[in-house]
């Protein structure tokens, strides 16, 4: 079980959080303008890489805030935690 450093509450147990999948996939501003393929790209395609992955997490049993983390999926080390809207750090 990881420890996650919630940017609003501090370090807490993983069991207080919920994972929300890959980060930095913005909902298209004008979905109706998109082709089926473009929409499918947004809707279904996720990287699921081995290595540093940027992920959304929610402190669901705490402050209920969403934020992003950079996690190395090969060893679960969390390299960075940053707020929604911030740019991903260079790692």
């Amino acid at each position: 079980m990881f420890l996650i450093n919630c940017p609003f509450c501090g370090e807490r147990e993983q069991s207080e959080f919920k994972a929300g999948g890959e980060a930095h996939i913005s909902r298209p501003k004008q979905p109706t303008e998109l082709s089926d393929d473009e929409w499918a790209e947004y809707l279904f395609m996720r990287k699921n890489i081995k290595g540093i992955q940027f992920e959304r997490w929610n402190h669901s049993h705490g402050c209920r805030k969403w934020f992003n983390i950079a996690r190395d999926t090969s060893n679960d080390q969390i390299k960075a935690v940053y707020k929604m809207g911030q740019k991903p750090p260079v790692i």
């Binding site: 079980m1 929300g20 004008q30 979905p31 089926d36 809707l43 929610n58 060893n75």
Partner: protein, 1001 residues
């Protein structure tokens, strides 16, 4: 053969306290401090069980938690019974009853033993190959396999013991209380670090505490005396907590560890009464020091599994620690010097050692010279080629090894013995390290895997880190700890240690015999009966990956996870396949390190605490009125209210009729309620729901359907505009938490610019729904000051009002199709309002109804239940709810997905109504629907999602999803059941009051 093999004067055993226990029904005596194994051995009992596959007699093999053979059932036929307990771990207490398992009918006469003689036809994968075919025979096979194999019996009664969970946070956790663990704990605690030291044994001290050899000295004391003083000292340290009988079960990432603290298993029934039996410790440590030691390896040779064959280190521990001789005619068989230490220990205790068989060509260490001086015969460059004796070893045969160690030569000699100690070198206990995600490195010189890459702030010290000599253990421990704890000096910097050991070892993974391999039984995994032969067979059959060989041969898959034999399995594979051990890698060690009972895992979360549930404010009334309850999400909901002996069907029929003919009352408090406020609230709803919300007037209610971005229906409910910037949304009972989370997600991540605030208010309100033709009369009696006219309170509108000066909201919304009033009142007034309505409704025979009737009534109207009629694969179009999709809206969640190539297909599953040809025939929910019964395989078109007998229509009705069903109105289809096929006709899903006249009746 009652014998007393107790030697005198072990200080670890309390010889003044005799303990009586039973094994396989017979009474024996031991002493306080004995394990079941040491007490049995003192009574000259080796045979304790049968092996899993061949049912070969097996004896005690080890003196620790790695024991593969001596696993017993404790207190059989009582609620306290526990299977798979290692006799080497359980401490005896007055009244303990243990029985052998895996033997039927008894350990001395075992029917499965015939497998031993059939073993040529029971090779690796035999169970996979044979019993899988023909499949229909499996049930028959299973009965016999379970009967004669079975690893112990599970208890038949609920576990009466008490367990608990406890969180522990510490600066430093030291796992293992051997010499290096004790030093680490002292160094850490002395530096003000909150330190926890755990050890699985009843006492700390590891193997050093009974090491009296003159070759191991610390500050001029024997290593055991020195350690005793250290233990006295650390017991006084304030920052140090020592937990014995505590074994780490799992080492997870981020230094999160689970441990089982055993509190009462060593106590008699009287002493353990009302005490917590075991605690599951959830430990979060800033730093972890692993000092788990090492496990002695057996040797793999022909018939190496007879009772009386034990690890050499176990012989030493039984002699030095428990004061027990494992045999009267002992022989040792070794590939290294540690057996010589055992020989000297045994000799000092007056236990006879007949010979040492050493596979090495020579060993000129001090030890070997001393052993020869004692007069013990040493057979060098020799190996045991066979052993004799069925229930106890009687004799071994020995031959000379060839130079390459792959064959034997010369004359065969026989040596009598009743105990054979085997010493194959040492395997560092790296199990916890690998569990934590650590990467191992293979050390070719010592043929061992060692910790290499640590995934968290942890370190391994002592023999689990590959140090096997006392001076090396101490010096390296100090060096490693200084770096790990970032300190310059320790309490031990001036320590004077002598304790080198001749580490010369001749490693032969599979020792040869004069017989060909096919005629021998060299066991690698004792518990699962996997032999070297099986491993070679797996390789011949094409298995290459160690993980595959493991599963095929079941090597390492027992409750001991193959702690003894895994290295030999790897070695034999490497030798046979001609690859390097380092390339082969090792199998994964998984938690728990030793088995955990379910009681420990669940702790106090049993009975009513197993899963929390929520009750509505009117729950007491439902209970008093004999309601049956249904679990919906975490809620207990009234399901139906049987009158007297009424069946569920009868009750639901009565309730449904009453609701349509006069009046019904439903507790709807469980519906999710989310308070939504802010200047952008209506815009937010507009983006969430498929229909339009910007123009909803204040005081009006609207039904909404929420989709996922993939266009599939997610939740539904009625939302009411309380004020310009204030709404209250209702959700399904089960979906409330997820809907709130989804709303928050969009607000925080996609549309942070929207000014919207969300509050979950589900349990702030009690919600009572009154429906039926007489509902208006009843509500007007309860709230006389409220104008219930169609003008003032039309369908889909709400009014704030008061009942006896208590504020409440009354909504005209209907899930039954009847005229309905939903009254929301502060939760704590719920029960009195409910009772008031019941009183006022008496003259109209107001009838409380539960969820089952609610489901029936809405099905008559063709209203869907999200999660029952939908399953995240249906769009609103599939549900024939096109009317609710705002085609003119620019965007809402899921809109774009509604015209993907896949979602616009005509042949998607669509919601339809079904009528059976026989109106009395009620379909089964989940039943498959087909068009053609003759075409094989039968093509499934869909399934029944809701089905009831409607008392108001006097016929069976059902909702279903059917491929292309929208265009199949009137078509006949079949529902094949076990004994018949039911004919159904596709109809419109609205069965009753299509014109909605009843809403305003």
């Amino acid at each position: 053969m009652a014998k007393n093999l107790r030697t005198k004067g072990s200080k670890f055993i309390d010889e003044t306290t005799r303990v009586c226990f039973k094994f396989n029904g017979n009474k024996y005596f031991g002493f306080k401090g004995d394990t079941l194994a040491s007490a049995l051995l003192a009574n000259n009992i080796h045979l304790v069980g049968r092996s899993f596959k061949y049912h070969r007699p097996r004896g005690i093999m080890t003196a620790g938690s790695e024991e593969p053979n001596a696993i017993v059932q404790i207190n059989d036929n009582t609620a306290f019974t526990e299977p798979n307990v290692r006799a080497t771990e359980i401490e005896i207490y007055e009244g303990l009853e243990a029985t052998s398992q895996n033997c039927w009918p008894s350990v001395n006469f075992d029917i499965g033993g015939i497998n031993n003689f059939l073993s040529p036809i029971l090779p690796a994968g035999f169970y996979y190959k044979t019993f899988m075919w023909p499949a229909s025979f499996w049930l028959k096979y299973e009965y016999f396999i379970r009967r004669s194999a079975g690893l112990g019996k599970s208890p038949k009664f609920p576990d009466p013991d008490i367990y608990e969970h406890k969180y522990i946070h510490c600066d430093v956790l030291v796992v293992g209380g051997g010499i290096s663990g004790i030093m680490a704990a002292k160094i850490s605690a002395k530096r003000g670090l909150k330190t926890l030291l755990v050890d699985e044994n009843p006492n700390i001290g590891g193997s050093t505490i009974f090491q009296n050899s003159k070759y191991y000295k610390i500050n001029n004391l024997t290593s055991s005396s020195w350690l005793e003083n250290e233990i006295k000292e650390i017991n006084k340290l304030e920052n140090l907590t020592i937990k014995t009988r505590t074994s780490i079960a799992a080492f997870h990432g981020y230094n999160f560890l689970l441990a089982r603290e055993n509190l009462t298993d060593h106590l008699s029934a009287n002493e353990k009464k009302n005490k917590v039996r075991q605690r599951l410790l959830k430990i979060r440590a800033k730093k972890v020091i692993t000092a788990t030691g090492s496990l002695e390896r057996p040797l793999v040779f022909n018939n190496n599994d007879r009772p009386g064959i034990m690890l050499s280190s176990a012989l030493k521990k039984y002699a030095d620690f428990f004061g027990v001789a494992c045999g009267e005619q002992n022989v040792l068989f070794t590939n290294n010097d540690t057996a010589y230490e055992t020989a000297i220990s045994l000799d000092q205790k007056g236990i006879k050692v007949n010979a040492i068989i050493d596979i090495r060509e020579n060993s000129n260490s001090e030890l070997s010279k001393e052993v020869e001086a004692i007069g013990i015969k040493i057979y060098r460059s020799s190996t045991v080629v066979d052993t004799y004796g069925y229930k106890r070893i009687k004799k071994i045969s020995v031959m000379q090894l060839s130079t390459d160690g792959q064959s034997v030569k010369g004359q065969k000699i026989f040596i009598n013995c009743d105990c054979l100690g085997i010493a194959g070198g040492w395997t560092p206990a790296v199990h916890l390290f690998t569990q934590s995600g650590g990467k191992l490195d293979f050390n070719e010189e010592d043929q061992i895997f060692l910790p290499k890459i640590y995934p968290s702030k942890q370190i391994s010290i002592g023999s689990c880190n590959g140090d096997f000599e006392l001076d090396k253990i101490i010096n390296n421990t100090l060096k490693i700890l200084k770096e790990f704890l970032e300190i310059d000096e320790t309490e031990y910097d001036n320590i004077d240690v002598s304790g080198t050991r001749n580490l010369n070892k001749r490693n032969i993974w599979l020792l040869p015999s004069d017989k060909i391999l096919g005629k021998t039984k060299p066991f690698v995994d004792y518990q699962n009966d996997a032999t070297a032969k099986d491993i070679k067979l797996a390789l011949r059959e094409g298995f290459r990956s160690i993980e595959h060989v493991k599963r095929y041969t079941t090597t390492g898959m027992g409750t001991d996870q193959g702690k003894l034999g895994n290295m030999h399995a790897l070695g034999i594979i490497a030798d046979t396949a001609g690859v390097k051990m380092s390339e082969l890698g090792t199998t994964t060690f998984r938690p728990p390190y030793t088995p955990l009972s379910f009681g420990t895992i669940v702790g106090r979360n049993v009975g009513e605490f197993f899963d929390i549930f929520r009750k509505t404010p009117m729950n007491d009334w439902h209970v008093k009125n004999k309601s049956k309850f249904e679990n919906v999400g975490q809620w207990k909901r009234a399901w139906y209210y049987p009158n007297g002996n009424e069946s569920m069907h009868e009750a639901v029929q009565r309730e449904s009729k009453a609701a349509r003919e006069s009046a019904g009352i439903l507790d709807a408090s469980t519906l999710g309620k989310i308070d939504i406020q802010g200047t952008d609230a209506s815009e937010f709803l507009n983006r969430l729901y498929t229909n339009s919300w910007t123009k909803l007037d204040i005081g009006k209610c609207r039904y909404g359907l929420m989709l996922n971005e993939d266009g599939m229906v997610y939740d539904d409910g009625v939302t009411t505009r309380l004020d310009k910037n204030h709404f209250i949304m209702t959700t399904t009972t089960g979906g409330a938490a997820n809907v709130l989370a989804k709303l928050e997600d969009y607000l925080q991540t996609e549309w942070p610019e929207l000014d919207v605030y969300l509050t979950s208010v589900t349990d702030h309100y009690a919600t009572i729904s009154v429906c039926g033709p007489n509902s208006k009369k009843i509500v007007s009696k309860v709230i006389p000051n409220l104008d219930l006219s169609e003008d003032n309170l039309p369908h889909m509108s709400f009014k704030n009002t008061t009942i006896d000066n208590i504020k409440c909201r009354v909504m005209r919304i209907s899930f039954t199709g009847e005229q309905s009033y939903e009254i929301n009142i502060q939760a704590n007034y719920g029960i009195s309002l409910w009772e008031k309505i019941m009183e006022s409704g008496k003259e109209f025979n107001i009838t409380p109804y539960g969820t089952e009737t609610m489901h029936l009534l809405r099905a008559e109207k063709g209203f869907i239940i999200v999660g029952q009629d939908t399953d995240a694969t249906l769009t609103p179009i599939d549900l024939q709810m096109d009317w609710i999709v705002g085609k003119k809206k620019y965007d809402f969640i899921g809109k774009r997905s509604l015209y993907r190539s896949d979602t616009i297909r005509d042949d998607r599953k669509q919601l339809v109504g079904l009528l059976t040809d026989d109106p009395k025939e009620v379909l089964e929910e989940g039943a498959q629907i087909v068009a053609n019964l003759n075409k094989k395989p039968i093509e499934m078109l869909g399934h029944v999602t809701s089905s009831y007998y409607s008392p108001n229509l006097n016929k069976s009705i059902a909702l279903a999803v059917v491929r292309g069903g929208k265009n199949m109105l009137g078509q006949k289809l079949f529902i094949p059941m076990e004994n018949k096929s039911i004919i159904v006709t596709i109809v419109d899903p609205v069965f009753l009051d299509k014109e909605n006249n009843r809403l305003n009746a």
